[in-house]
Symmetry: C2
Subunit: 355 residues, 2 copies
């Protein structure tokens, strides 16, 4: 039994793996592989339709918002967002709350002015800035809802009249949110939506069409909207896996149902960390992420020892990101509570041995 | 038994489907799905390394050329190429030989000047222009080696000192070519390389770094080269399927071996078409594609009847593109000769019945 705590690409539901595996040799009894069906066929249109409808339903999107599946990852959105929304002489506001936000800021500067409203770089992004002011004349305000690398998560949506844009790659669909408050949301699929190789983008139509620069067709959200995400050959299989994963989440009871499970997983792990002095969470308590739990040990030898024990017990993907060190345990939607329990039991035993 | 003549996404080798299907439930005995392994793990590095090495070997690339797997399809390359290679005041030369070339021209115009050296639009791209002059001062010359929609194929590489750029999406690795003569080659994977959702790009390093515009990181070929195609989370599974497909081609004997098979398939089908007056190939004989065979029937009722017979005999994907009508039969690398034989037998019977 392998427990996969990878930060992404990451665990998906077992049923999704089984269904996807079958579809590769025979998609729905057609005698064709899902990999060889044309993207303009009724067979694939059904997949896209269900993926879109289910995502819309799970997010309770209103009719002002369009939903797209696009090529690339969130890194593509780092430049596609300002390319579509930021005029050269205008200013976009960005929160510098982690490595991914910082990368988004770098790309935005190629297209217009950027005002960084606040930064937590001073303490290696181990907390989220608070009490900043978003300039009212900003074209938009961009932030990262969950910082995969540093393990912080923004627990409320900023109050502002400025159009809100969020990179939700690592916590989308993990908790109830008013998604309609956002002008644009993007998320690489490979955590809570499906497999790597596709982006989900939600965009409020009225913010499009206001930049003066000409846009390449493939970068223009409006063209993808008009084409129903089939402007060119889409990443067929990646969208299919999204459809299966979204269907799984819907059958499980949707976002509120998974949130309850995610809360239990995170509570169990953080409680264990807080109880055992050998482990030290690195993040400010109020900013702790329920998706990526980051902690270190004060003794490097102990870290190596615990890492080896994890490995010996079938736990993979727990090594921390090189920027932070220590450990990072990802608790995405598909991670079962039982795996978290196995990990916390190992932590208890380890602490007892070392006490 | 289904015979899949789809133009793309299209048939892949049966072994590839079987191996990919197994890897989704258990990748190489790791107990993990290929969909849940981190892209920075040794497990995935092996996949990328083998995919790149095999592609380089099959194409006999020299050390001046870099090979990349990038997000998006050829449509992304339509703008990424001029963004990286065409200065605003400079001119790129393009051949207008089909719908895809025309789309590439449209995107290039956003970045610099474009000289269309010749066009076959006058006869719905049913032939390839010849005897044109490529201006010596052009930044590059761009053409499409095989026109998927219209069924034409360029059978030799143009002689010019100008850097050659080719969209080889629908015939790459189907025939022996001196790939090193190109400054840049791109191809969506979903015909002869693997599954939809990834692009293969080959680029000669010396042509990069000469444009004055700043490039978004994800659009800059140099950044992807430096990162070994792992600049961000790549389309993991699509690259894995490329690796399997490239391995299959190598084991089969490489490009010259598949070319011999492709020649037999195309000869069988074109000979049948030429022999049976009820079918009429639409393309100038000297420009016929060995990958996409396009033909019509002079009577629309007969077309419907033959289409129904194809369907009844398990042949899918033979309906022509809406731009041309009639039929389009795609003979990509993975299409077995036996399927082409089944089709030509049906054509013979049909012609006999209607004679």
């Amino acid at each position: 039994m392998v427990h996969n705590f990878n930060a992404g690409p990451s665990i998906l539901p077992k049923e999704v793996f089984e269904q996807a595996s079958r579809a590769i040799v025979d998609y729905n009894g057609t005698g064709l592989s899902i990999l060889e069906i044309g993207h303009r066929t009724a067979l694939f249109q059904e997949v896209v339709d269900e993926a879109m409808a289910t995502a819309r339903e799970l997010m309770k999107l209103d009719s002002d918002h369009e939903l797209l599946f696009l090529h690339g990852g969130a890194s593509t959105q780092f430049f596609q967002v300002p390319m579509n929304l930021l005029n050269e002489q205008d200013t976009a506001a960005y929160l510098d709350g982690g490595v991914w936000g910082k990368k988004a800021i770098k790309e935005a500067k190629l297209f217009g002015k950027v005002e960084v409203v606040a930064s937590s770089k001073d303490r290696n992004y181990s907390y989220l800035p608070k009490g900043y002011r978003i300039p009212e004349n900003a074209s938009y305000f961009h932030y990262t809802t969950n910082n995969t690398i540093e393990g912080t998560q923004m627990h409320s949506i900023p109050e502002t009249a400025v159009p809100l844009i969020a990179d939700m790659s690592s916590d989308i669909l993990s908790r109830v949110m008013d998604f309609n408050r956002f002008a644009l949301i993007y998320a690489g699929a490979q955590k809570n939506i499906g497999a790597a190789g596709v982006n989900m983008v939600v965009v409020r139509k009225d913010i499009l069409g206001h930049v003066s620069r000409p846009l390449p067709s493939m970068m223009d959200y409006r063209e993808h909207i008009a084409a129903g995400s089939l402007l060119n050959t889409p990443p067929v299989f990646a969208i299919y896996v999204c459809m299966l994963t979204l269907r799984w989440l819907k059958q499980l009871g949707g976002v509120s149902a998974i949130e309850a499970i995610n809360d239990r997983k995170a509570a169990l792990l953080y409680d264990t960390l807080d109880r055992l002095p050998v482990f030290r969470p690195t993040v400010a308590k109020e900013d702790r992420s329920k998706m990526n739990v980051v902690f270190v040990m004060d003794d490097e030898t102990l870290e190596k020892e615990f890492l080896a024990e994890c490995k010996a017990n079938g736990m993979v993907g727990v090594k921390g990101h090189r920027n932070v060190g220590g450990f990072r345990v990802s608790l995405y939607n598909a991670m079962p509570l039982s795996s978290v329990r196995t990990l916390t039991e190992l932590m208890n035993e380890f602490a007892l041995k070392k006490a």
